[in-house]
Amino acid sequence: MTKDKKLVIGQSVKRIDAHGKVTGETPYPGDIDLEGQLWMKIRYSDRAHARVLSVDASQALAMPGVVAVYTSLDVPVNEYGLVMKDQPVMCGPGGDKPGTDIVRCYMDYVAVVVAETEAIAAQALPLIAVEYEDLPPVFDPEYAMQPEAPQLHPNTPNNIIAHYRIRKGDMAAGWAQATVIVEETYETTYQEHAYLQPEAGLSYIDEQGRVTVIVAGQWTHEDQEQIYHALNLPENQVRVIYPAIGGAFGGREDMSVQIVLALAAWKLRRPVKIQWTREESILNHHKRHPIKIRAKWGATDDGKIVAAEATVIGDAGGYNYTSNKVLGNANLMVTGAYEIPNIHVDTYAVYTNNIPTGAFRGFGAPQALFAAEGQADRLADALRMDRVAFRRMNVFQEGSLLSTGTPLPKGVTIDKVLDACAAEAGWFEEPAGLWSRPVPDLPEDRTKLRGIGIACGYKNIGYSFGYPENSHAKIELYGKAEIEQVIVRQAGAEVGQGAHTVFMQMAAEAVGVPFEKVKLITADTAETGSAGSASASRLTFMAGNAIRGAAEKALQAWKSEERPAVGEFVYRPPKTTPYDPMTGRSEPNFAYGYVAQAVEVEVDIETGHVQLINVISANDVGMALNPQLVQGQIEGAVVQAQGYALMENLISDKGRIKNPFLSTYLIPTVLDVPLEVKSIILEYPDPIGPWGARGMAEMPFLPLMPAIAAAIYNATGVWMTSQPFTPEKVVKALRQHGIGVI
């Protein structure tokens, strides 16, 4: 890595999108209108599991102002999906592919109406007559895994999308060495992304005859691929543009309105717009996976974890919205950031007729670490060891072997984030090597108890397990004797994290010009190569390396006096490998980020309310390219994780979401956030990160829930094992232990 003084990176450059977003000038997809546009509304499934026998749109079509109704019969290739094309674009009769006439969740589409106004489209929607033949549904993933359960997809016996195994070491020997063994079952439920901007989009035929979709997503080129596949068009006939995106968090990785919008615009040759309501958004995009984990860990008297066993079952819902990948990651994360010689894990991703589940900040790690960190705490307590001291004995070191039997990439810093976090939280090491936990202040009010908890974790940066990771960038240098302008083409999605500002900082740094000379062209498949997704904490890392490579080439061309001097580069990180199906052996990832968090909570033992007094988040980000944006990511992740741990409780009843409103699905507001979030930004460079930077956007989400659970236990002596820790559940748990009884 360069040792030169940094010109632009490392500075909290003001976001390029700040002014427009604050003043409201920036157009989001729902703000964009075209002359002559039509409006679309979607008819969703009325059943969790049924065969669609017929769809009769004649009454809807007879309504004045209705322009078209499209059904399964109108989709050229009626299938889509990010990792597996297992979902029909619209469910209904007439397909060549078996099963496209079956709805498998309430999110499925049966028809779309296109009308002159949104109101007419809405009125026409119920006029579409859909005839169903009910099929037996399955809502419990553990039941779905039984041979007698309804089979939801062809070629998926027992509804198991993926089964991963970890077989490391010798379990019998491990248990024989263990003097303490702890067992627990951990359960988590859905989480809604609750991004500010509900799904919206506009499709039209552009000046070159391409069907163009303006939408908010996370990966322009992947959206493009799924659209041209379903419409059976050549790649260059489909264009995807992202304007401002109102948050994503993984919730826009899979398709929402893209394909049906493109279909209608392509057929009608007129612009077509759609705007979802908040309710529609909550009902019709995937959620974080409910995961049930049974864990059994053992340790020796001197505090070494010697055996870990886990069963992990994730509810995928009706379709595989990256569930195989999410559970793959949970399979790795469920033994925590600890080097354990003997490990036995079975992980399953299972189809049900519930709402599909998929990518969400952390990608399976928050659920897995809830179990891993809970087990670490229970072992430490059983051994009467300090929880930090216990972790320090077991966390990964440079060269440690993962559960997959291969060493971590260089730059392992879990010990460093843990030390920094513990010290800030008041842990002290005296005498050297002997850690002690701080004792929280006891509130005067006898109905309140305080406790402190700490947890740590890690997560991959970039796509894993053999995925051909890459990111494209192009740099154009304009000027005569001096570089007057730098144009960087990088498609990475600005989902609110500040990526575009950082791309420009990195381009300026790589070329050696001031920030003001850089112009970014982005998020348009017609103007840029594929950046890959804004996910897996990968964008800065991948785009940064691509931009550096492109800048080097452009500078060479500049020296050769080419004007403009152009450099194009596709960054490909070190290769990874998939799990061995029997042993789990693999080289899962090329880079990781490390995090530790400590929290102090106040538990109201009468009401069950848990108030976060303060949160300390220590993150190794490698290099803070824009420290203010890093801090923003940390604070945002903490608040989102606080909601996950304490408030957010999406209720599903037989596959139907019962609280699709922000008045009933509670997320933290400014009145609920911690009194203080202290961000500790550590900079131990990643050997292959751009300027040493690591991805960091997911990591501050990961250990918060287990840290809160530990703090509640520290305060009350009661373990919460089922997320979220709502007042009602906390009160029940406390009263079962005789605490707070009136």
Binding site: E606, T607, M647, N659, T664, L666, T669, P727, E728, I742
Partner: protein, 284 residues
Amino acid sequence: MFPDKFDYVRASSVDEAIQLLSQNEDAKLLAGGHSLLPAMKLRLADAPLLIDIGRIAELKSITANGTLKIGALATHAEIAGNADVQKYCSALAAATGQVGDNQVRNFGTLGGNVAHADPASDPPTVLVACNATIHVKGSGGARAIKATDFFLDLYTTALEAGEIITAIEVPNHSGHKCAYAKLEHPASRYAVVGVAVCLEMSGSTCKSASVAIGGATNIAMRSSGAEQALAGTSLDDAALNAAAAAIQADLPDDALMDDITFPADYRKAMSGVYLKRAVKAAIG
């Protein structure tokens, strides 16, 4: 969401409003608009005509002559900040100070709030505990209704068609220890349960107690069980626990409010907790 179309007329006096109301059977009165308009936007309420009484000056005064008389159009913020209210009935000042948020408190009126009769709203609970009287006027003349007789059911009051609330009268409680304590809904800030207490003290002994609870059931209601459990005690832990048990027992099971976030059994348990908190706040 937008409300359905409606007509609008502004009344400049109570009598004019009553006349307009008698001529337009389905019309609704618009005061601060902070209960009615949200309901209309959600299409839970609609009216062909809104009669705006919001600028009728005679309904805005707050006077204290032996009793506290609050004009129907006094806003929550005005009441919360009024020195006479703080003196005569501190619990009402506290409750109006906790309604919704700043915007709601600056626009919403006590008369509108009482007419709306949302059991999760804060002021009705205090009015019921403090033996308030609701003064109303219609084409047939004026009458006074006790707060305990005024709230009949969810969003249902003893107001007759064509009647307008003109004032809310609260006896002087300056010699009492009064308080209001609520568990608020995190999204709406409405009371999941809200408890108001007015305690008549003699030294450290509670001579008599008046207790009302809102949010838990369909109406703001008194708890005679809790009142009896507190009366004659020194308000020690045993008395508070007995009162907490009694208030739970007084809640009719078939009228308990219940939702996804706060199920009925949780609300019931919290009614006891917040009774204790209200008593503790009252005796400071």
